[in-house]
């Protein structure tokens, strides 16, 4: 989920403010609603969002009360509050409510790279690399919880598609390196280097040129 810094700030304030009123499930639904319907609006109106949240609670909390609380929370942010972004992303993944257009360019490039690599590696080798990735991703302390879950889901399908919005390039690089290590273990580092290089060359000459800079930072 690509949010502007201002939107991220508001998201944090809203989350912690609503946490007091709403049970966990309703809170997460409210946050998904905020991300999908209100976060990207130029003129964000707390009132319209409060109406939606009130409807979500079945009228238990009035829009007026919710509006006043949220306005106050946004105007007076608390410095040491935790960022709920990962929590929300994990919930979104869990319920499968994903908006395809919200994938970042890095993630798209990552998916394209991995799929081409697996295609060139071929059935048995690709399968071995996927198995390695499943284990290593879960064990890695460098990847976030949401990313680990997302990778497990992505690796289950023939066409790997990581369904997460904003993932740091450093994390994607770690996963690509895990794939490289798996290739090295199976076919040796000389062939692993050759496969990566062929993947890059094929992509750059066949529809992947737009992601060229991202590929180089992933590799």
């Amino acid at each position: 989920m690509n949010l502007t810094p201002d939107a991220k700030r508001k998201q944090k304030a809203i989350f912690h403010c609503l946490k007091v009123f709403l049970p966990e499930k309703q809170l997460m639904e409210a946050m998904l609603l905020w991300q999908d319907k209100h976060a990207h609006k130029k003129g964000f109106s707390v009132r319209y969002f409060a109406d939606d949240v009130a409807a979500l609670t079945g009228g238990k909390h009035t829009p007026k009360k919710l509006t006043l609380t949220m306005v106050s929370a946004i105007a007076n942010p608390v410095a040491d509050q935790s960022d709920p972004a990962e929590h929300i992303a994990a919930y979104r993944l869990q319920v499968g409510r994903y908006v395809a257009s919200q994938k970042s360019t890095q993630v798209t490039a990552f998916n394209v790279l991995l799929n081409k690599l697996f295609l060139l590696a071929g059935g048995e080798l690709a399968s071995a690399v996927k198995t390695h990735l499943k284990t290593e991703c879960m064990a890695s302390p460098l990847l976030s919880g949401a990313l680990k879950v997302a990778m497990q889901k992505a690796l289950r399908s023939e066409n790997v598609e990581l369904l997460l919005g904003d993932v740091p390039v450093a994390s994607l690089k770690v996963i690509v390196n895990m794939a490289y290590v798996a290739l090295c273990d199976n076919v040796g580092p000389v062939n692993a280097d050759r496969l990566l290089s062929q993947t890059l060359a094929r992509l750059e000459s066949n529809g992947g040129a737009q992601y060229s800079d991202i590929f180089k930072s992933l590799l």
């Binding site: 770690v174 390196n177 580092p189 000389v190 280097d193 890059l200 930072s217 590799l219």
Partner: protein, 440 residues
């Protein structure tokens, strides 16, 4: 024309008939000794070039700058450390037989002392650089340099003080036992080889070198020509390495360098023989290593054996190299250039041969046992201390680079440059994009 020649001849004869004092002879001898020692030191220094070529050629192109840098820097650091500390520990006044206690930061010394320090400094740099090849392609640059400083400053000089001892006063305890290692099969090469073994055991193999179910993945070097050139340069340098160990102009240099040449040639033949005997391909890298094994092997006894035994030593050293290299592979120990087998194992074997084939005292069991004692002490000391040092470095600042860096190549990640930007194969960098890519 003839009249002029006779006039010159007459002058020369007149000069030759002039009386010359003993002091003049001594001064001339000292000058010749210093000149020979300084020249031999230059020969040994050239071996650094040989190592650089050999190790770089044995590595993949994405790591070859890193290899060259390690060779360059370990001679820079090693020279200073050896001048400051190592020389004193090795050759200083040695009253206990265990360690020298004078000659640190040498200054205000005489010409011969300076030339001797220079010569021994090159030996010390050689010992350190042996480990660099074995550790190539996955060692952190700064951590390697730290290990090289420890090898040059402490590990090598202390064993050297036992085996060679003081040139000023006192003798090393091994030397006092009768241990013979004329030019350093054990002192230089085995110390370097066993240090390399310890370091690569702590480091672990390169990623993907050994696959599942015991499969060995070959990782060929990027330039076989470099390996051959390096081998030739090392061979050339060895004439100074062995010949210079007389530490003066001496008629024995003839036999020493003849034995050096014969052993090298026999080592090459030994490698060829082994390949044919085992039905394996004749790889030029193995032939070069066979030659080097022959050179390492004869280094201990080149001054004290007859030429026939130099041939036997060289030939057999190549067989020892082949066997040990195979053993390391079986144990899943990854040595990029075969340094452990060439320098460690062949060095130990050569030290034993020096005892077996001692001129005028062939196959003396007592001599052989003394040699064996020295070989074992060398292994225990060099391997043990290096293993500990490498382990401490590994636990603190880290000895090994990340797999991310191995994937990208150490040239780029450690040094921000690549060796062949115009001719990149299987890498992702060009001259245009080098500065734009994040190295971490």
């Amino acid at each position: 024309m003839h009249y002029r020649a006779y006039r010159i001849l007459g002058c020369v004869l007149a000069l030759l008939s002039l009386p010359v004092s003993a002091e003049d002879v001594a001064i001339t001898k000292e000058a010749i000794d210093v000149i020979w020692l300084a020249t031999a030191a230059a020969f040994v220094f050239l071996m650094q070039m040989g190592f650089a070529f050999l190790e770089s050629g044995s590595s993949r192109s994405k790591n070859c700058v890193n290899v060259m840098m390690k060779n360059f820097m370990d001679v820079c650091l090693g020279s200073i450390i050896f001048w400051a500390l190592g020389f004193g520990l090795m050759f200083g006044v040695n009253s206990t037989g265990w360690v020298g206690t004078s000659g640190f930061f040498m200054h205000s010394a005489n010409s011969w002392d300076y030339s001797f320090l220079l010569f021994q400094m090159m030996f010390a740099a050689t010992a350190a650089t042996i480990a660099s090849g074995a550790m190539a392609e996955r060692a952190k640059f700064t951590s390697y340099l730290l290990l090289a400083v420890i090898i040059t400053g402490i590990i090598y000089p202390l064993f050297g003080s036992w085996a060679w001892g003081s040139f000023y006063e006192g003798a090393g305890w091994l030397a006092a036992m009768g241990f013979t290692d004329f030019a350093g099969s054990s002192v230089v090469h085995s110390v370097g080889g066993w240090a390399a073994l310890a370091a690569i055991m702590v480091l672990g193999p390169r990623t993907g070198r050994f696959g599942a179910k015991g499969k060995v993945h070959e990782i060929p070097g990027h330039n076989v020509n470099f390996v051959v050139l390096g081998g030739f340069i090392l061979w050339f340098g060895w004439f100074g390495f062995n010949g210079g160990s007389t530490v003066g102009a001496d008629v024995s240099i003839g036999l020493i360098n003849l034995n050096t040449q014969l052993a090298a040639a026999a080592g090459g033949c030994g490698a060829v023989f082994l390949a044919y005997f085992l039905g394996k391909p004749l790889l030029v890298v193995n032939i070069v290593n066979g030659v080097l094994a022959g050179l390492v092997g004869v280094t201990a006894g080149c001054a004290t054996m007859e030429p026939l035994f130099a041939v036997i030593t060289g030939f057999s050293a190549a067989l020892v190299y082949g066997g040990f290299a195979a053993l390391l592979l079986k144990m899943r120990i990854d040595d990029v250039v075969g340094a452990v087998a060439v320098h460690g194992a062949a060095g130990a074997w050569g030290t034993l041969c020096a005892g077996l084939f001692m001129s005028g005292d062939l196959f003396n069991i007592s001599t052989v046992l003394t040699q064996l004692t020295g070989i074992i002490v060398c292994f225990v000391w060099a391997f043990g201390v290096t293993y500990f040092a490498a382990w401490v470095i590994h636990q603190t600042i880290g000895l090994r680079v990340s797999t991310q860096h191995e994937q990208r190549g150490l040239d780029f990640t450690e040094h921000a440059e690549v060796a062949y930007p115009e001719f990149l194969q299987d890498t992702y960098y060009s001259k245009q994009n080098l500065s734009q890519i994040q190295r971490d």
